[in-house]
């Protein structure tokens, strides 16, 4: 057994997963990144801290989330699909797992304020929620285009006491929100933690966020055992930055399960990207021939990101995980299919993974396979947009 490779462990001391990762930030932020790394390592090995994190996720966020066999869809597609129901977690997606951990860490570091970026608004809402719970000030940076696409989530954040700052620069989406949050962090790093929402950014964020999301995979592995399924043949999740995928993959990285990430075709960093440096990390990025970052386009604001977390880039490169892309045109059909056949309205992000199951069942996914689908979020935030699309208004 000594020759067996071990996946999804700690990155090296420079925060590298293979050749990806690292810490490419302005000098002004280096001390904060080093402080955060030390604080996370200390907290994550402290049973009192981890105990509180798990207790809050249980008593406040509703964990463990169930695993639901999707019986009708399974029969239709000829595979056995089990959905890990992150849509049932408080605030409607897996994002709550990470922010509960990071806000507890913020308090432990003696900081009283958090800032965050958000795309679809799920991470912003989750951060505002977790900040309210601990009485932390909260400011969320959101691309101006996304504040329009997801205006209800803006209002939710404001109800939760957060300030939402529309970002007017660049493509006015998630990538620009990250830029602006980084710029803001430089000015307030003394008393403010940057609560990054995905497995991206400078070390230790990709590792820390994966660790805080890995509860998804650990729970699911146990639940599939209890259901008598054991190790599934495949684990499937949508990928923007890649936090829900990293979280569920972490529970199966050292099993025989195939790991599959589904990108939006317009934000396909593995499919169309090349190695580059953005937002503090070396990873795969969509960029032009001069190294200018390209704008991603997706029907779902949460996947509208030209990069991917560095550990995903590494898992793709070594072949431990596979990545496929789904275009906007298949996403609405998948959302309707899951809604009508299973009584679950998924987030548009999650619907990409559903669409891929429909497409790949019987081919890339051999008939009869057992598949764990990470149902990363619910579609409540998207219904106005979906209605407009179905009525031909958007």
């Amino acid at each position: 057994m000594t020759d067996m490779p071990v996946f999804m462990t700690r990155p090296d001391e420079r925060g590298r997963f293979g050749r990806f990762g690292g810490r490419f930030v302005p000098e002004a932020l280096m001390p904060a990144c080093l402080e955060l790394e030390a604080a996370f390592i200390d907290a994550w090995s402290d049973p009192v801290f981890v105990g509180e994190y798990e207790r809050v996720l249980r008593d406040f966020a509703g964990r463990p989330t169930p695993v639901t066999p999707l019986e009708r869809l399974s029969e239709r597609l000829g595979i056995r699909i089990f959905a890990k129901r992150e849509d049932l977690a408080h605030t409607g997606s897996h994002k709550i797992n990470n922010v509960i951990g990071q806000t507890l860490l913020t308090r432990r570091m003696g900081k009283h304020r958090v800032i965050a970026e958000t795309g679809a608004g799920q991470h912003g809402v989750a951060t505002a929620t977790a900040a309210a719970r601990l009485g932390l000030e909260c400011t969320v940076y959101m691309g101006q285009l996304d504040t329009e696409r997801q205006s209800l989530n803006v209002f939710r954040m404001e109800l939760l006491g957060a300030t939402v700052v529309p970002v007017m620069s660049g493509s006015r989406t998630l990538k620009d929100a990250v830029n602006e949050a980084m710029r803001e962090w430089v000015t307030c790093v003394e008393d403010t933690h940057y609560c990054l929402g995905s497995v991206m950014g400078p070390h230790p964020f990709p590792w820390m966020v994966r660790e805080m999301q890995s509860i998804i995979g650990r729970e699911a592995a146990r639940q599939l055992d209890e259901l008598g399924v054991g190790t599934p043949d495949m684990v499937v999740a949508c990928v923007g930055g890649g936090s829900n995928a990293a979280g569920v993959f972490a529970g199966f990285a050292n099993s025989s399960a195939r790991l599959v990430g589904i990108e939006a075709a317009g934000g396909s960093a593995v499919g169309k990207g090349s190695p580059g440096v953005l937002h503090g990390m070396k990873s795969l990025l969509m960029q032009d021939e001069f190294g200018q970052i390209e704008e991603a386009y997706s029907i779902s604001a949460g996947l509208d990101y030209p990069g991917i977390g560095p550990e995903h880039a590494y898992l793709a490169e070594i072949g431990r995980a596979e990545y496929y892309a789904i275009g906007d045109e298949d996403v609405i059909d998948a959302l309707r299919l899951l809604s009508e056949m299973e009584g679950i309205i998924p987030a548009l992000e999650t619907a990409h993974a559903v669409a891929w199951l429909v497409q790949a069942a019987g081919s890339i996914i051999p008939s009869g396979s057992s598949v764990l689908l990470n149902l990363s979020g619910r579609g409540d935030k998207d219904v106005a947009q979906v209605r407009a699309i179905l009525r031909g208004e958007a």
């Binding site: 830029n179 003394e190 580059g276 937002h279």
Partner: protein
């Protein structure tokens, strides 16, 4: 010692405070004329920004300028080509984000800078811990690797950065991205922390907006870098004459 540092040390030895204006390459089609105007008005070296789509260390003024320059088709190659037509003989320093060099190829990028007569490079998203490969590439082409020092940099890091920086030490006056500011913040403390470890020329930047601020910063530093305030003059439609007036006002404040 790299050529840039030899030059900049000589300026200090002559008793002159260095004035380093910053320009965004390709912001206007005649941007090289702006550089020449600045040199005519007494600039001692010039920092040339190569535009990047996601300038994490820049505020709204330079963001806007970079966007315009990119829309005009500016690239590392076009910037270096333009620099070749520059009728001025002061040291030139490039400033851009790491992805531009990384994508171009580190060794090739350093060679291109050198061939254009650019003697140093500032890469604000490349901290010391990640800079080894870039430094090796620059060493092969006499390009100085210039590091920033922040008010948040603790003493042990100041010591390591002071050893690593070449040409000059870039002292950030404040915890902020580039932009205009009402005062020079923590500049004196940052400069003195560098001086405790190195006699490398130390220039103050980030937020230097008025000649009076430049004068104050030069009372403890060896020079100043003026970026956003100057780029704003050009964004507002100023040409070579306005650039010359602006730079002259800083020159007078430093002399």
């Amino acid at each position: 010692m790299k050529t840039l540092e030899t030059h900049l040390r000589a300026i200090r030895t002559s008793g002159r405070k260095a004035l380093v204006p910053y320009f965004v390459a390709g912001l206007t089609s005649d941007w090289v004329r702006h550089v020449e105007a600045a040199v005519h008005a007494g600039a001692d070296a010039v920092e040339i920004g190569i535009p990047f789509s996601d300038p994490m260390m820049d505020g709204v003024i330079i963001q806007e300028a970079a966007l315009r320059a990119l829309e005009a088709g500016t690239t590392l190659d076009s910037a270096c080509r333009d620099v070749g037509s520059l009728a001025a003989s002061v040291p030139l320093v490039a400033m851009t984000y790491y992805n531009i060099f990384h994508h171009y190829g580190l060794e090739r990028a350093a060679g291109t800078l050198h061939a254009a007569g650019i003697q140093g490079a500032i890469v604000p998203d490349l901290p010391l811990e990640e800079a080894a490969d870039w430094t090796v590439a620059c060493d092969a082409h006499d390009v100085a690797t210039i590091f920033l020092f922040a008010p948040s940099t603790p003493p042990d890091r100041v010591q390591r950065l002071a050893k690593a920086t070449q040409g000059f030490a870039y002292a950030s006056a404040r915890m902020a991205v580039t932009g205009q500011a009402a005062d020079i913040g923590d500049a004196e403390r940052v400069v003195r922390s560098i001086r405790a470890h190195s006699d490398v020329p130390t220039y103050v930047g980030i937020g230097i907006t008025t000649p009076a601020q430049a004068h104050d910063a030069a009372s403890f530093g060896d020079g100043v870098i003026v970026g956003s305030a100057l780029v704003k003059v050009i964004l507002d439609g100023g040409g070579p004459a306005e650039v010359e007036d602006f730079v002259s006002s800083f020159r007078r404040a430093l002399d």
